[in-house]
Subunit: 496 residues, 2 copies
């Protein structure tokens, strides 16, 4: 920086990133604690891997492959190797397991919470940095491992305050879709083409049957005129896939759904294996009391990520919620996952079965906050000790310290402004009570307590003023050594 | 990826990064909760800014400026602008305040915990990603704001388990060093040269007086032969700086130290202003009972970062600790900070006084863990329900669910191996108790409980075997509907 001609950067957030305030963070902290408690109660172990991994270790599994840089933030290290910020927590887990396989208990069940980054085009509600909370079981191909994950997923959503019926976890298997394609005579799909089919089906909610039909066939032009290349299946093949993913079976029993799906994939070995696995998962869940009101087979769910190989899961909310713009919307997925038996083999060549799910923390948080109303997430009431006399600031600190020692949240004003600005400050902070200790009062061993919330209410409605003030004085004197009970009484009056 | 010739990346961590396990994360979570509680009790507000900021918004304030890429991970965004991963939490706060100044309460007091990244040469115990927990007060030039931060810093260290006398927070002012240089006739220092002096002094602990003397003068060659350019002060100027920063005054009273420092800077306006501020901070702290056993003036502390303008603080531990390699070392700084009145003016041109401190979470955590011993950080005992009969896995889930509902940490085995491997798994997990429910037992309404910790102890010492087994059977039957009290009794026997 040149002192003569100072450079003044503009203070601005990068596109696709945001600052988060106290209320949001308090709610998120509580949410993460709850999820952690559920996962730990199931005996899952915490793990943390770094934000940056070698780019080749993460691999390229993001759905949106046609953009430059493939959706990932990457840089070249001093030694010429490329590092990338993780785009999920699953690819780093695969690296960790491959690196430490001999020393891990098998199955290895871990949870991890962390920030992930997507170098994608930002948009409203679409951020380039967000939080995921994952749980995975590595080293078991048993449907019991999937069933356990689904039980824990369900328990987590209920621990976060969702009631039964407010959410449903939908269950499907990639093997069924492979079976449908096999049965339809698309036996040898290359990986890229299978990916196009998957991503087309994954957009069913958003584009509807017509949009998916176009993407499975020749391709689709969107509203902006951009053309997305299709999977180029024949019309008969497209019809079979659509019959599978959009069978309109919401009111049918689990058994009937499974039987119908079994018919669809009949004759395909992989499809039949998928059916057998789903049947066993559902059997275990039914015995353990996680019936179709919590977890339900739905062939419309495929998940967008490339690496799933078997069962896939997706949690959806069933009620409309209000988004940050105040609009009523039906929130879609608040998390999901599935079985990915080949991800560790990328490193070792040895197949290690694995499955897991990820809770979309940010999205679920905004739904829960909108639903719960602010009061559930409120922070502790704040007491502010105002400073009339700068020479006595140390005494104000002593007062605030005594309040904190009694379990209250309290601060002494540390700015340099006068009483009026201090009251404005207290108001901006949403403080409950201001404590004022002038020189005369100190000499008498007294302080003044000012009920700031009441002051605000009085300013609003003058008609009930007399009644209010009668029961609950806006300002009162208290003995310095009786300040704690006096404040508690004032807070109780406020809470009634 | 080409299916014919699969690419096998090597599973390895990038240099300077690490994976962290359950015990470390449990301890860190507890530590962060404690810090958060203290900061919130003082009325500081939570804030979270993103990991990535525009590079020009972060500025270049890192001490280690001679390396390429200036210690920061940066990438070019699609629109040609450079983004950097934050290297601390202060520069992003300055951006946030400049962007939102009108809407913030003044003073604005916020805390933030987060990962920061340094693109530095990694070494033992030196990582490129670590956690900081900061508290800052923006918009007050009052020494009361510094005093409050120092009180809160002290309260935080004590809440984390340090006793008085085990740590000391050292207090100095950049203004004093500027005063010394001014009084020594180095009146007009350009910013770069002042930076060289600061960084030289900051290395006093590591290099000793001789090393700092060389860096203040012509320069210094280190063990590896690398030469670091010096500040090129005259011998007399070097002597004055050294007399200031290394005055050997550990046993002198605060008042005597301040008087001696006042003499040193006498005649320099900036130096005298620094003395007046320190006196007021110390006066407030003394009244509020944060005397020299907690916060003490020490002119040897300058802090490495460029942006400080007034008071600087650094917390040091006073006892030797064991590091991760088992060596006994005196840990140096576990956090620090200071006043930076010009950081927001970088954006707005308007000076906004600010001060803050940062707790070095990772470093402090390793000290506390080494000192506390493992038992303080132990996780809840784990109960594992073994699965003898795969067809009965759902019943094992029901059993584990009942244990969790009773507040225990419990899992049913979800792997595919036999009993021997399951017991080995339980052992690797450090489980306390294995629950075994065979078909015959289920028919009788019974389960077998196996005390795994006892089994391990018995294997170690055979002499007391009879006594052990008498008081505390390694294996016992329990009625299925009496399993909770039976497990609690076994856990209690284990804990005695």
């Amino acid at each position: 920086m040149n002192e003569q001609q100072p450079f003044r950067p503009k203070a601005r957030l990068p596109r696709g990133f945001k600052d988060r305030d106290e209320a949001e963070l308090a709610a998120e902290t509580r949410m993460l604690d709850t999820i952690r408690r559920v996962y730990a109660s199931y005996g899952f172990q915490a793990l943390e891997t770094p934000s940056l991994e070698y780019a080749d270790a993460l691999g390229k599994f993001l759905p949106d492959q046609d953009r430059p840089n493939e959706g990932v933030f990457s840089f070249k290290d001093d030694d010429g190797q490329w590092l990338s910020l993780r785009y999920d927590l699953t690819a780093p887990l695969a690296r960790y397991v491959a690196e430490n396989f001999q020393n891990l208990p098998k199955p290895f069940r871990r949870y991890q919470v962390g920030t992930v980054w997507r170098n994608e085009k930002p948009g409203p509600g679409r951020f380039r940095e967000f939080t995921q909370f994952d749980a995975d079981t590595v080293g078991s191909a048993s449907p019991a491992a999937d069933a356990e994950l689904l039980m824990m997923f369900s328990d987590t959503l209920e621990a976060l305050g969702l009631s039964r019926g407010e959410y449903v976890i939908k269950l499907n298997s990639r093997k069924l879709l492979d079976g449908v394609l096999e049965a339809a005579g698309v036996a040898v799909l290359d990986r890229a083409r299978r990916g196009v089919v998957l991503r087309a089906v994954d957009k069913l909610d958003r584009l509807g049957v017509a949009g998916v039909r176009a993407l499975l066939g020749p391709g689709r032009k969107d509203e902006s005129g951009d053309f997305t290349k299709g999977a180029e299946l024949s019309p008969d093949q497209v019809a079979r896939v659509l019959a599978f993913v959009a069978p309109n079976n919401a009111d049918t029993s689990q058994e009937a759904v499974l039987a119908s799906l079994a018919d669809t994939v009949s004759g395909s070995a992989i499809g039949e294996a998928g059916i057998a696995e789903l049947r066993e998962i559902i059997r275990i869940l039914n015995v353990a009391d996680y019936g179709p009101e919590r977890v339900r087979v739905d062939s419309g769910i495929v998940r967008g990520l490339d690496y799933y190989t078997g069962a896939v899961y997706e949690a959806q909310l069933t009620f409309p919620a209000t988004n940050e713009e105040g609009e009523t919307v039906v929130f879609g997925s608040v998390g999901g996952g599935g079985r990915y038996d080949n991800l560790i083999a990328r490193f070792t060549g040895q197949s290690v079965p694995a499955a897991g799910f990820s809770v979309g923390v940010s999205r679920l948080l905004s739904v829960l906050r909108a639903r719960a109303g602010a009061e559930v997430w409120e922070t502790e009431p704040l007491i502010i000790v105002l400073v009339l006399d700068k020479a006595a600031v140390a005494e104000s600190f002593l007062l605030a310290r005594d309040l904190r020692a009694a379990g209250l949240r309290a601060e002494a004003y540390v700015g340099e402004a006068g009483m009026k600005a201090q009251l404005k400050y207290a108001d901006r902070r949403g403080a409950a009570i201001a404590v004022i200790e002038g020189g005369d009062e100190r000499a008498r061993g007294e302080v003044t307590l000012k009920d700031l919330a009441l002051g605000a209410e009085l300013a609003k409605s003058t008609e009930d003023r007399a009644a209010w003030v009668k029961d609950r004085p806006a300002q009162q004197a208290a003995k310095r050594d009786q300040i704690i009970p006096a404040i508690r009484a004032m807070l109780n009056a406020r809470a009634r």
